[in-house]
Amino acid sequence: MICPHCGHDNLEGLDNCEQCLQDLRALDVPVPTGGLQKHLMEDTIGQVPFDRLVMVGPQDSVARAVSQIKAIGIGQALVVDGGRLVGILTERDLLYKLAGREADLRQVQVSQMMTPNPETVKEGDALRIVLNKMSVGGYRHVPIVRDGRPVGIVSAKAIANFILKYSALDF
């Protein structure tokens, strides 16, 4: 890595030039090559259509949450307490924690079934950040928050559709 200030040939990845101590951090930031890559690195989550939202409280019954989820035809509800996101209740939670048990859903609280403190993103985050979180954590839905308050949810399917849209234009 050649220092643009003094021309010293540094090892790749150094933060500062060994000779003149100039900051080199801006030099090895990956640069998108174009097309879809560029969209993934520079477009923000706000540019992908958000999924519809169902919000429930942690003290609500699972029966109530399930009927709201079913009514709008999605697979998860955000759990909100005092306006702040405290958990997410997904189909996966219901499959793994509830299926096969004979339970009266009106007696079970959302807080007992939800996944607490889910990973979140912000509207201004680049798409690669949500792609990273989905891949590393295995999530299919990541809530979008603004100052701790949920404003949307982005799904793996929405990201896949975004990639498909731009891959059709990309050769």
């Binding site: 930031v29 299926a99 891949s135 399917k157």
Partner: protein, 155 residues
């Protein structure tokens, strides 16, 4: 190679697929749920003599079982999606993404040339593949000089 070219050229069999849960159509819903859980998945292929006849996903569970007078002893064929849209292991990753988009699916069963159940591809498999093969775009998050931390580090 660009992401777009890769999606067109890579076959579904090269994606990081996980071994599917498979049950016979007469299997009880309880057995099906156990089979899915034991593989840490969200769906099961429903077969008859090895041939794919249906798909049972967590969405079927949510819509047809949870909150209904559930019969976990009932056969899974009562709750499955019969004759689901399917692809072959040799179709492209792009074909899988396209079918997911057109049908609004997250899970697509895979069959071999004889129609035998051979696996399943999910939207998560595609995302994982893209993130692993384009690490510069996904895994290696570059520093953001304007980033502000929500909390002090270590606090």
């Amino acid at each position: 190679m660009s992401i777009a070219t890769t999606l067109r050229e890579v076959k579904i069999r090269h994606l990081p697929l996980r071994p599917p849960a498979m049950v016979e159509r007469r299997a009880s819903l309880k057995e099906t749920v156990e089979a899915i859980k034991s593989k840490h998945l969200g769906c099961a292929l429903v077969c008859e003599g090895g041939k794919l006849v249906g798909l049972f996903t967590e969405r079927d569970l949510l819509n047809k079982v949870i909150g209904e007078p559930a019969g976990y002893a009932d056969p899974v064929e009562k709750f499955m999606t019969p004759d689901p849209a399917k692809l072959s292991l040799d179709d492209s990753a792009e074909a899988a993404m396209r079918l997911m988009q057109e049908g609004d699916y997250r899970t697509i069963p895979l069959v071999d040339a004889q129609g035998n159940a051979a696996g399943v591809v999910t939207v998560r498999d595609l995302i994982t593949y893209l993130a692993e093969h384009f690490p510069k775009e996904a895994l290696n998050l570059p520093p953001d000089p304007h980033q502000e931390m929500d909390r002090a580090e270590g606090a």
